[in-house]
């Protein structure tokens, strides 16, 4: 190997090495989720005694959410459908299409999204419109008649 080839090899090799040594940690830094993230706690949202079976109701509750370097206390809502005395489903309040807030249409007996007219049944299945999948649900726990709501699971 002559001197010139060695120099060219070193120039490109060393710059490639430095490029990799910077971009790899930068990508990890930007893409990896934060460490030490606590799971969202279950919070009491409503009392099932106050709901009627198969009559979806919007429930507003307050919970703490880890948001970067802060924990924010924020208002959140859920569409709760009581299915039996001590059973319920809690839907996350945004359409699976583009995230608009949907509502329950009492006349049609379905959830309607105002943005692009997606329709969902009371158990969350897609009935019409562009929504790609069923409504997302919250993890729930029932303690006595109290409904506790946890994290959102993709529908």
């Amino acid at each position: 190997m002559d001197r010139r080839t060695f120099q060219l090899g070193s120039i490109f090799g060393l710059w490639a090495l430095m490029g990799a040594a910077m971009t790899t940690p930068a990508l990890i830094y930007l893409l990896f989720p934060p460490k030490a993230r606590k799971k969202t706690d279950f919070v009491e949202a409503t009392d099932l005694k106050e709901l009627t079976v198969n009559a979806p109701e919007e429930v507003v509750f307050r919970r703490n959410r880890a948001d970067g370097w802060k924990v924010t206390s924020e208002k959140t809502s859920a569409w709760v459908v009581k299915t039996a005395a001590n059973q319920a489903i809690a839907f996350a309040p945004s359409c699976t299409h583009l995230g608009c807030a949907f509502h329950w249409d009492e006349r049609k007996k379905e959830f309607i999204c105002p943005c692009h007219a997606s329709g969902f049944s009371a158990d969350g299945k897609v009935l019409s419109g562009p929504a790609p999948r069923a409504l997302d649900r919250y993890q729930i726990k029932v303690e006595g008649t109290k409904l506790l709501i946890g994290e959102v699971v993709k529908g």
Partner: protein, 539 residues
């Protein structure tokens, strides 16, 4: 295929010709390893920009959140401490490399005609680099950042004529807060980076315009910049990159407690490269201070700008540039001397200059140990939280508020029994501590009320220990105590710190006939009580 794309681009932008003419520039045959520093400095600047942008993606630039978001970057984000480490150590390294670059240009005389403008731009770039360091220092918003900037802005505010305007511009009139923080941040990320980029570009343009400076006598024929010198620069850059990476991974990056403006015990210190300026201030006491804060540094910068005009001789060989070597060595010795002195002095900042002991200088130095200890309890119980102007409690400095010690102690224990309807909570201290607090309050007047804020923590801690160990049972301080043992006023003039500490541990070793019992203090307590004793004035 690639050829076609390159040709297409070349035809429309001329980029290939531009790169070629940049790379195949002729440089003197004498060029080589001594010229790597300019390239390294440019590289480090780009790296600082990169890591800075990375940090900015997760950093909230307000005093309320800066510290927490930085902690989040360092603790919770993978690679976050690496990014901060690179940015932190990169700033120090940048300064080292910029200075090395200047030293090289200076020694080789590369600033001579027609390269004066290149040199002047270089000096401006040095000042910009320091401005980056100064403004970036505040951004972590920890104690180090806060107190360091308090001192910096106060120095700037003492500038002749312009002081008030500078202070106003930095938003630091009165105190450091959101305004100063925001301005430092804006300067650090919005003003300085583009300015520096433009000046670096101009600087490199001038280097290219005049060509790399040749040696006095060129023996070798000129050569091409690429690949020979590019190889040398790349190796230099790589070496500095490896060093920086190792530092970022292995060396701890400071993140102290959240900025606490009420922390009276904090001793502010600037970053290492400003230590010499910090020390220079101590060389010129009193009204001469301006010499150290402005006149000398100002003259030094002016001197740097004037270098090409002061040295107008024909370029000589490196070996014959004895004056340049002499000036540089002198400057390096001055810098090193001041920096070393600052480093050596600062671990024991609690010791006061013995000249101060001739007469009490500070109000707390005139108070008895019991009263000084009382300040500690006053702070600990946060009495000022209610007994300050505009707060709910009465002003304790007013003579009418002064009662007897017995009344006060009763009031401390059962506030509502003594003053019906009082909103004061009972103070949970033992009797001797309450006595101490009362002793202090009895001495409190509007004239000496500043001691509550100004008394250093070591004095308060030392005095509390002094009280607790009942040193006053044998020693006199400021007229209070028994005369069995020697009086302790001005003890710093008679005994060294080491002697006093040895004497605590084993009194009979130091003075064989002494009836004093040994005291095995914890290191922190030992430091506090010795510092307190050493600060006691001569009567």
């Amino acid at each position: 295929m690639i050829r076609n794309i390159v040709d297409w681009l070349e035809e429309r932008t001329g980029i290939e010709t531009a790169i070629r003419s940049f790379l195949y520039e002729e440089i003197p045959g004498s060029s080589g390893w001594h010229q790597v520093f300019g390239s390294i400095a440019t590289f480090l600047f780009m790296l600082q920009a990169f890591t800075g942008i990375m940090l900015a993606f997760n950093y909230a630039p307000t005093p309320g959140e800066a510290y927490n978001s930085l902690k989040y970057i360092m603790m919770e984000l993978t690679g976050g401490s690496l990014m901060r480490g690179l940015h932190h150590w990169g700033s120090s390294m940048m300064i080292v490399v910029v200075v090395l670059h200047m030293c090289q240009v200076f020694l080789w005389g590369a600033y001579k005609k027609p390269r004066e403008a290149t040199w002047i731009l270089g000096v401006v770039l040095l000042l910009l680099t320091l401005a980056f360091g100064l403004t970036g220092y505040l951004l972590p918003w920890d104690n180090r950042a806060y107190w360091g900037t308090v001192v910096t802005t106060k120095i700037a505010a003492s500038a002749p004529l312009m002081g008030p305007y500078i202070e106003h511009l930095m938003g630091s009139d009165g105190s450091i807060g959101v305004v100063t923080f925001t301005r430092f941040y804006a300067a650090h990320v919005l003003l300085l980076p583009p300015l520096t980029m433009i000046l670096i570009a101009l600087h490199i343009f001038l280097v290219r315009k005049h060509g790399v400076a040749p040696a006095a006598i060129e023996t070798l024929p000129p050569k091409k910049f690429y690949p020979g010198q590019v190889y040398i620069d790349t190796v230099g850059i790589f070496a500095s990159f490896v060093l920086l990476f190792v530092l970022a991974v292995a060396a701890k990056v400071p993140l102290e407690r959240l900025a606490d403006p009420t922390d009276t015990s904090y001793i502010p210190k600037p970053d290492w490269y400003f230590l010499f300026l910090y020390e220079l201030l101590k060389v010129f006491p009193g009204s001469l201070e301006i010499l150290g804060s402005f006149i000398l540094p100002g003259l030094a910068v002016l001197g740097l700008f004037l270098v090409p005009f002061l040295d107008r001789q024909k370029l000589a060989r490196l070996r014959q540039r004895t004056v340049a070597f002499g000036v540089l060595i002198l400057a390096a010795m001055l810098w090193t001397g001041l920096t070393v002195k600052a480093v050596v002095d600062s671990p024991k900042p609690l010791e006061l200059n013995t000249e101060l002991l001739d007469a009490p200088q500070l109000p707390w130095q005139e108070m008895t140990p019991e009263e000084v200890a009382g300040i500690g309890y006053y702070r600990k119980e946060n009495c000022a939280g209610c007994h300050s102007p505009g707060k709910i409690g009465p002003d304790l400095t007013r003579p009418t508020a002064r009662k007897t010690a017995a009344w006060m102690i009763e009031h401390f224990k059962h506030p509502q029994d003594v003053v019906p309807g009082s909103a004061m909570p009972p103070i949970r201290l033992n009797d001797s501590q309450l006595n101490t607090l009362a002793a202090f309050l009895l001495q409190l007047t509007p004239q000496n009320a500043s001691v509550i804020e100004s008394t250093p923590a070591f004095a308060v801690d030392g005095a509390i220990l002094y009280q607790k160990q009942q040193c006053g049972g044998c020693h006199v301080v400021n007229g209070s105590g028994q005369k069995l043992g020697p009086g302790l006023n001005g003890v710093a003039l008679r005994r060294s710190k080491n002697w006093i500490q040895e004497n605590f541990l084993n009194p009979q070793k130091m003075s064989p006939d002494s009836p004093m019992p040994p005291y095995k203090f914890k290191p922190k307590d030992m430091e506090a009580i010795t510092s307190y004793l050493l600060a006691l004035p001569k009567v």
